[in-house]
């Protein structure tokens, strides 16, 4: 038996096996299609349950994606967002803190200015004559200046 014969016999052997196997699995397929309605229904239920989990997960992904694109603040804590997006989302917070500091400073300056105007008006105005009749004011005039 030469090499060609051996190759031919092996190929023929494989072909026979394959043909037989496919005949058997055709019967198995036919058998599988004859499963009871109860089994079919339970398989359908299992399939639907699996698909529901996928839809739920994909729904969550869509919400996360939408939040990232629609609102910068909504992406805080979203671990997979790019660094510039996370930085941009923090900018409004910095602006808010800076604005509060400026407002507080402006209010303090405004109060000091008002107090200075009152003092200036008091000191620059003529002293009422009744002030000299006040014992406290007399004591104030007698007391040596503190500085």
């Amino acid at each position: 038996m030469n090499h060609n014969d051996t190759v031919y016999r092996l190929a023929a052997h494989d072909a026979i096996e394959s043909r037989f196997a496919r005949s058997v699995v055709a019967c198995l397929t036919e058998s599988a299609e004859r499963v009871s309605p109860d089994v079919s229904e339970r398989l359908r239920f299992a399939r639907e349950k699996a698909l529901e989990s996928v839809r739920a997960r994909r729904g969550v992904d869509v919400v996360q994606t939408t939040g990232r694109s629609a609102s910068g603040t909504a992406v805080l804590g979203f671990s997979r967002s790019p660094w510039w997006l996370r930085f941009a989302s923090v900018l409004p917070l910095f602006a808010l803190v800076g604005g509060l500091v400026l407002i507080q400073d402006w209010q303090a300056r405004s109060q000091i200015s008002v107090a200075a105007e009152v003092d200036e008006a008091l000191l620059g105005d003529d002293l009422p004559i009744n002030a000299y009749r006040d014992p406290g004011f007399s004591e104030f005039l007698k007391a040596p200046p503190s500085e």
Binding site: H13, A21, C27, A32, A46
Partner: protein
């Protein structure tokens, strides 16, 4: 990424075969249903984002793992290992002559004259039974290779063995089935 429809169609196309394969392995219809459901959920939760073309092989691997998990839960792992090792000791029975008798015949499986009165359903039941009797590894290789239509490399990857082992398992399974069916008067 597989769409919902692709995933649904795939699961629908494979669910009954998967259930039958699980039944062959665990010999329990309800447990087989649980295994298939577990397999579907695992595939959907972990691999739904993979391309549709990858789903068949992933599904087969998950199904095999889910089946093994079931055996582990049942604390009969040793029995499984023993069943799985049967193919190692089962020698080739050299029944190529049986296959040679098949060569001259074609078409779908049909009953011989002695079994002509047997209904189609009974024939299918007998074939089903003979497939169930195959050693686990032979049956797994045979079903993955010919029923799930995986190629040799994919079958080997799914079973975690070499391609040579897959060919050996398949060949032995075919010989065993041919011999058993011939003995029952069924031929191709």
């Amino acid at each position: 990424m597989a769409t919902d429809k692709e995933l649904s169609d795939f699961l629908k196309s494979v669910e009954k075969r998967a259930w039958k394969r699980a039944v062959y392995a665990v010999r329990d219809d309800d447990a087989a249903l649980d295994i298939v459901q577990d397999t579907m959920i695992r595939l959907s939760e972990k691999y739904a984002d993979r391309p549709a073309a990858e789903l068949p092989l992933l599904f087969q691997r998950i199904l095999s793992n889910a089946t093994m998990d079931w055996f582990r839960r049942q604390k009969v792992k040793n029995q499984v290992v023993r069943n799985f090792s049967e193919f190692e000791t089962a020698g080739s029975d050299g029944d190529f002559d049986i296959l040679e008798t098949l060569e001259a015949l074609g078409g779908p499986l049909q009953s011989e004259s002695a079994a002509e009165s047997v209904s189609r359903a009974q024939i299918l039941q007998m074939i089903d039974s003979e497939v169930a009797k195959l050693p686990a590894r032979q049956r797994e290789a045979f079903l993955l290779r010919y029923w799930e239509e995986l190629d040799v490399a994919e079958t080997a990857a799914s079973m975690g063995c070499s391609e040579g082992s897959v060919k050996t398992h398949c060949s032995r399974a075919v010989h065993a089935l041919a011999k058993a069916l011939k003995a029952k008067g069924i031929s191709t």
